[in-house]
Symmetry: D3
Subunit: 137 residues, 6 copies
């Protein structure tokens, strides 16, 4: 009997953000985050990859129905984040700096309790095709 | 002395398939697999990535000769699957639903005994650029 | 005042097909189309690019609203072709060989009278990333 | 003697924007531009392709030195637009709705008089990989 | 009756080269071509796109058989250029600087008389994904 | 408190090389490495992905500042390797065959002591989009 198989689903959203730690001074933020600290924001086309690993169901041949997986990503993540300003519009980033690292943890935490706990979960988020993050590492 | 290095080879094949569990009724299959159950089939450009990990040979500087790796993938997988109907033309799927999960296990089983058992093997299969699977996870 | 601007919208569909000219013999079709003539079909992930060119509207800043463009492509092309067998399920190919060339002309003819005749239209269709067609050339 | 050759240079910038026509009411903008009208902005990774066509210089084998081409794109476009809010930070969009169509015309106008008038110029701008524009069409 | 359709075929080759005009001094070449003039060569993965436009044949549904097109590209271009040093191994560049512009003209000239003169031909060559050329423009 | 996050940075360089083991005869090298052994070299556009994993800093929201990461990759790897001949110009390959496997180990060894030892490091190197290596596996 085969071991775990991983299934991946790629989604995307387009959002504005700025890197800024609200607990630091304006000057400190400017030094730490440079042009990413622009007070008027900049933005990205975020590509999101959700990896779910587990046993293959004998009846369906699925680890998880990717239609269902796509639906919960849309409902809980991309419909909430798409065409938004992460800093201003998304509750989770009101006091949290929206670095790629922090966004990927936030998305993991959102999806973790929507997916059967027998299944492993990993999130990859591309901020650009040259900068991306993965959680858990 | 360095540890294991992984080498990857990407190949592709174009195939028709439908998702269907022959042991279920027509109605049950339609509910479970939706438009993927179309009795006249649909199809995909499958991208296949074969990952082989092991020690680097001192003489060649190779984990495995990628020319040889490409040749065995072609002989045993892509020449058999390319421009075929997975359900009708490929023996392994006569009684097995060709989900991405099941295809990736079938390809792993085909290649595992063609490759030196000192080398680790992992298969990734892209059904589309947004849906893919990996085995072992 | 600036001249015409082109706007592009990319969509996709996954379909099965076989190359076959119903007016030729089985033997002639096999010689002409080789493995693409497999009677059990094979399939592709088709990427479709619709290019619309014209003047930019002063009020909206649009040549055409890409949301509207995307909607008519979905309604008239991708919802009809996706997860289908082009030869068996799509009326336009009942007597027409679904080569990339013929598919691209069929899609052009479908969309041409859904789009304002002051706007130019061009269709590009990727059968694979290495084989694609454009109409009009 | 060969005719014109086109040379292409791809650059990119990441920016925030919102679609909004300052001469319309809030309600009219919301109806016209939907989620793209979010007052807190959203953003994109813009890919910019600059095409320059002309005769090949006998001595250099160049239509234009792509190092020079890249430098003027950086100086006049991407260094100005990158990590900015197009509506708030970029003078050209103070009174102009930053649709892909309008951005591509603005970039053309910026670069047209930096490049030898014997050379033809065309600009392509990807807002996302599925939405892009070209000028002149 | 429909007008011309264009069909595209993508191939690739990996080659070494240096930019150097043999009729100039070492110093002049260094100033003109900078790091691309390295006397020990550098190299690229070249992606080649061949576009052929014409009427669609009523019997085959083809402008040109892409299998045949691929075969002549391989025989006359990629088998000759792949894993070669363009300056040293390829006759056409013995006295011609292998800029992207010059390579694209050379490939056009090679293929032009292998393809029916009723068909139009255009060559695109990617030196990198950010630098490419097209001929005729 | 969340576990480790991985952050990825993609860079690239263009280089010439040949596969050749200086301790073997010309004939043996030719048999082992085929067309990759061309004495006049061939070349590639190498894509390099550097993965760094560790805890997210509370103040910055970073595992590592990707600007800093990009700077050390440029200084120690891509500025040294770009537009070079790996066999002739790069000290590490004077007596080492520049296979993808060996290059990826060399880059790992260069970067390992530039990056905080609390952080994990993994290198992926694409020789082409179809051949790539990862270290450690």
């Amino acid at each position: 009997m085969p071991g775990k198989v991983a299934i991946f689903r790629k989604e995307h959203f387009n959002a504005a953000h700025r890197l800024n730690n609200p607990s630091l001074s304006e000057e400190e933020n400017k030094i730490l985050f440079g042009k990413c600290n622009n007070p008027n924001y900049h933005g990205h086309n975020y590509d999101l990859i959700v990896k779910v690993s587990g046993a293959v169901d004998k009846v369906t041949g699925y680890v998880i129905d990717t239609k269902y997986l796509s639906d919960i990503i849309k409902e809980h993540v991309t419909d909430r984040f798409d065409h938004r300003n992460l800093n201003l519009d998304i509750e989770e980033f009101k006091d949290l700096n929206p670095t790629t690292e922090n966004i990927v943890i936030v998305i993991y935490d959102i999806l973790r309790n929507k997916i059967d706990h027998h299944l492993d979960l990993k999130i990859t988020l591309y901020e650009t095709e040259r900068n991306y993050a993965e959680y858990p590492a």
